[in-house]
């Protein structure tokens, strides 16, 4: 009985909510959340439009019937909600493969909001609408991958805060928060939210919940399995790469069948992709094993197709030891990139929007379709993260096959100078790891990074030129030099190209990979841990750094990372609020003050400002005298003084008439007369 009473109490209708503003604010939050769902394609546009119309109509109906809701409406609302839940669970259980519940969840919430909007008579019901809209925003936010979603968040938050303050106004019989109080509340709210934002750890990628794979607008590639990237030519280097140019991958020349280390594209700054990952990694695209003195090529002999249904179980790459931590990454392609499937090292499973991908023994994955904007795929990798001590004490007896050892130890010719240099650098080192580190340290201490270097002479060896020339170069030359030095010492190494993790966006929890994040680094084979990444470029200082140019670049980079749309929207909103407040404060509070202000304005325009010692009546007499006809100002001033000092208030109509008359009455400066003072 107690539970029954509690249910009965909970179902007792609350007092009708009469505040139209509160209702409109709640309607705004619901509509903002529906729009946000539509913006991330959680629901279709027609569905969103229909839901918007129904919710608006429902809220209007609820307001009209708030005091005496019809008896049948509760039954209809309950039946509608039940039907929505039945549909939701049916859509979940009938799906062959459940990849995500997001879309049905969004539709469920929208359906509940639509049905509920027809029976929102009381404050408690409106509060439910607010809370449900927050849930709908969360569903939309789960799909949002860029900062433009912030516009919807701002709109929803503004409506929500307005609704909450109106709820206080309604429940307190007219109490309103002062502007200062509102600012303090907002500041405290932002501080609390920011504190939680700073304290809480970043979200982690859910395991076994959502494996996104979606084809985008990339179109088709010429030859399936071949790489769409361009090896480039010197003529192309003067311009930044773009989607439409032959160098369609943002200007980087390495996402192709070969990597010419003498050429460096002018990388664009466009966003290539966003990555949601459990940890940052180098997003490897492909590796090269064959070095000819100027370019890297791959000798894997082409990719072979993997014909499975998604997810693809990827073979273990040659030499890899997939014993690391599972790392799930989802790639959201923002702009057309190479048809390489970028991933963290040692990918073992791939969710991809095709029934076929191309795979090479070195772990390179090639898409059969162009990866354009909107493409999404998910990769699970087994990332080995050994510590330096572990690598140093690696005593595994595993060895590469002789042909593989030869493949990754290949050199086009003898490098006696390079060998001598490498041996001298690693003279005291006994382990592979120490040798690699010594070489990296040497490279960092003796070379410089610059993109502005003269082209190599024809037929020159890049490594010789770099190590024994001016020792200035970019990442391809630096990493190639390390790889060649390692190979000369008999250590298996290869060149890898891809992207560095990019900048982390704490709002979206995504790694933002831009075209100029394209990079080349070295992978070294360790018997117990497989291929390990080493990036010598990271320790190489820039060549002749220019403070001004560096500062400008930093500023430009910082400005580029600013989410301009939300920032500008917030600033514009704040500016508008300040302007309105200032305007309202500057406006005279009473009709008498308005008339007095207009009189002084008219006098100023006529060259006769009011003296501090003058009463308004005296000043008005002067203005009438200046005008030369009538006693308009005198009459108005008398009324003002009668109101201010005599307490004789004219009727509202008379007040409005006097204000209008004061506004329209002009005092012309007499022709030929000087300024009366």
């Amino acid at each position: 009985m107690r539970a029954l009473d509690a249910v009965r109490r909970a179902n007792m209708p609350g007092p009708p909510e009469n505040s139209i503003r509160f209702r409109v604010a709640c309607l705004g939050t619901v509509l903002a959340s529906i729009a946000s769902c539509a913006s991330v394609d959680e629901v279709s546009r027609p569905t969103a439009v229909a839901a918007t119309a129904l919710v608006s109509g429902g809220m209007f109906f609820s307001h009209l019937t708030r005091t005496r809701p019809p008896g049948w409406i509760k039954v209809v609302v309950a039946a509608g909600a039940m039907a929505a839940f039945v549909w939701f669970f049916h859509s979940l259980t009938s799906a062959v493969v459940i990849t995500t519940i997001d879309s049905p969840l969004g539709l469920l919430l929208i359906s509940v909001l639509v049905v509920h909007s027809f029976h929102v008579p009381s404050r408690r019901d409106l509060l439910f609408s607010l809370a449900a809209s927050a849930g709908l925003m969360a569903v939309a936010g789960a799909q949002a991958i860029d900062l433009s979603f912030g516009l919807y968040v701002v709109a929803w938050a503004c409506f929500g805060l307005w609704g909450l303050t109106e709820m206080w106004t309604s429940s307190s019989g007219g109490g309103r928060i002062s502007v200062a109080g509102l600012v303090c509340a907002l500041a405290a709210m932002s501080a609390a939210a920011a504190a939680v934002f700073l304290v809480l750890p970043a979200p982690v990628v859910a395991s076994r919940v959502s494996f996104l794979a979606q084809a985008g607008a990339g179109g088709s590639v010429g030859v399936p399995g071949a790489l769409a990237g361009d090896t480039g030519s010197p003529a192309q280097l003067s311009r930044a790469g773009s989607q439409s140019s032959p160098i369609r991958v943002g200007g980087y020349l390495g996402f192709a069948g070969s990597l010419n280390t003498a050429l460096r594209g002018n990388l664009a700054t466009t966003l290539v992709m966003q990555v949601r990952a459990q940890r940052p990694s180098y997003w490897v695209g492909e590796t090269f094993d064959t070095w000819n003195g100027e370019s890297w090529t791959e000798s894997r002999g082409g990719s072979r197709p993997l014909r499975e249904t998604s997810p693809f179980a990827l073979p273990i790459p040659v030499g890899d030891v997939p014993l690391g931590q599972s790392d799930l990454q989802t790639f959201y392609v923002a702009n057309a990139t190479a048809d390489l499937v970028f991933h963290a090292e040692s990918a073992e499973e791939l969710w991809f929007p095709t029934s076929k991908v191309f795979y090479s023994d070195d772990g390179t994955i090639v898409s059969p379709i162009g990866l354009g904007s909107g493409s999404v795929y998910t990769v699970e990798s087994q990332v080995t993260t050994p510590t330096p001590a572990m690598l140093r004490s690696d005593s595994s007896a595993q060895t590469l096959l002789p042909e593989t050892q030869a493949q990754y130890g290949q050199l086009p010719h003898a490098y006696p100078r390079v060998l001598a240099l490498a041996q001298s650098i690693t003279a005291g080192d006994t382990t592979t790891y120490d040798k690699v580190q010594s070489l990296i340290d040497w490279v960092g201490a003796h070379t410089h990074y610059s993109l502005d270097i003269p082209p190599l002479p024809a037929g020159a060896d890049t490594v010789d030129e770099f190590l024994f020339g001016n020792r200035v170069g970019f990442c391809e030359q630096i990493s190639t030099s390390l790889a060649v030095m390692l190979r000369s010492l008999g250590i298996p190494a290869r060149e890898a190209v891809g992207y560095v993790p990019g900048g982390y966006d704490p709002i979206t929890d995504l790694w933002q990979v831009h075209a100029d994040d394209a990079h080349a680094w070295v992978q070294v084979w360790f018997p117990g841990y497989g291929w390990q990444d080493f990036d010598p470029t990271a320790v190489v200082p820039p060549s002749n750094p220019s403070p001004g140019a560096t500062a400008l670049k930093d500023v430009a980079g910082a400005l580029r990372r600013v989410p301009w749309v939300p920032v500008v929207a917030v600033l514009a909103g704040a500016g508008l609020v300040v302007a309105v407040v200032r305007l309202r404060r500057a406006r005279p509070a009473t009709w008498a003050a308005r008339v007095a202000r207009d009189a002084e304005r008219a006098g100023r325009r006529a060259g006769r400002p009011r003296r501090p010692s003058e009463t308004l009546v005296e000043y008005a007499a002067t203005l009438d005298e200046l005008a030369g006809s009538g006693t308009t100002w005198g009459r108005l001033a008398s009324s003002v003084e009668a109101s201010a000092y005599g307490g004789r208030e004219p009727s509202p109509e008379a007040q409005r008439a006097m204000v209008a008359e004061a506004r329209s009455t002009r005092v012309r400066r007499p022709v030929g007369a000087g300024v009366r003072d």
Partner: protein, 300 residues
């Protein structure tokens, strides 16, 4: 009185808020979505301010009693004019009263509002105890604080006027004598003098006023009737004391209406007081100040 506010029925709102935040964060954290976590942080901020913001409002609220009547009657409403700088819900505690919202409507400054007290018993009150509450800015959680505010002037709450009981000293003769006794303001006129504050309006001498051009009153000889002394001994039991005081007031009122002089003998905090009372208000004040005498019985 508490300097700090305390939440009104806080368990459900705080528990629900914590549950929402924990669930939200778990979903966001394991869902790997930064926007969901960001939205959750915003919701947390709103809930935090909604729940704890009223504490700041109530703790820093400035409330003052601007005016209060000097007299009231137990069981009858007494209106105080209260000024509050922010919108507050006020519930009078001692004396009890009617819950009401005070403070500015809209964003204006401090305004005065009426707060109605309904004192249960007689007494003299220099302060009033109020529960002030607010849920600003979001009306998600109410916080209350008990404040004791000084009244601008003492509030004398007289007892209700109970059933009059005839004086016990001279039963029959006094009854007739009281009823036929001449009014105190109808003694033998001795002359006229200018009006001074406190003179009864019944003593205004209109002819002399018209003649002199200023308000004149009659000067009378001593009233001919002998005063009746009402002795009020109140017991410790407040209910019983209230009943006796009500009876005493009824008796005094009846005697005054009969026109006879009345002496009221009460025990006040300052000691025993035997003094005439001129009207019902004076009697009410005396009885409001009266305290219990050890072993006291009732009015005689």
């Amino acid at each position: 009185m508490s300097r700090w506010a305390r939440p009104a029925r806080p368990v459900a709102p705080i528990a629900v808020a914590l549950m929402i935040i924990a669930t939200w964060w778990l979903v966001a954290h394991n869902g790997g979505s930064g926007w969901v976590q960001f939205l959750g942080d915003l919701v947390f901020g709103a809930l935090f301010i909604g729940i704890f913001g009223p504490w700041v409002v109530v703790t820093s609220a400035k409330v003052a009693v601007r005016s209060a009547p000097a007299d009231g009657v137990a069981g009858m409403p007494v209106e105080l004019r209260v000024r509050a700088g922010t919108r507050l819900r006020i519930r009078p505690v001692e004396p009890p009263g009617i819950e009401v919202f005070v403070g500015p409507v809209g964003r204006k400054g401090s305004v005065d509002d009426l707060v109605t007290l309904v004192p249960v018993r007689r007494g003299v009150r220099g302060t009033v105890t109020l529960d002030i509450a607010s849920a600003a800015p979001f009306a998600l959680q109410w916080w209350t604080r008990r404040v004791q505010l000084p009244l601008p002037s003492l509030l004398h709450v007289s007892p209700r006027s109970g059933r009059p009981r005839p004086p016990s000293t001279s039963p029959r003769e006094d009854v007739g004598e009281v009823r036929n006794r001449p009014r105190t303001d109808a003694g033998l006129p001795r002359g006229a003098r200018p009006y001074v504050s406190g003179d009864s309006r019944r003593l205004v001498h209109w002819q002399a006023t018209a003649h002199a051009g200023k308000l004149m009153v009659r000067e009378l000889e001593q009233p001919s009737a002998a005063p009746v002394t009402i002795t009020v001994d109140l017991p410790d039991d407040p209910e019983e004391a209230e009943r006796i005081a009500e009876g005493a007031l009824g008796t005094v009122t009846q005697l005054l209406e009969g026109g006879g002089p009345v002496l009221l003998d009460t025990l006040e905090p300052s000691g025993r007081v035997l003094a005439p009372v001129a009207d019902r208000r004076g009697a009410g004040r005396r009885l409001a100040r009266a305290v219990a005498r050890a072993g006291g019985a009732e009015a005689t």
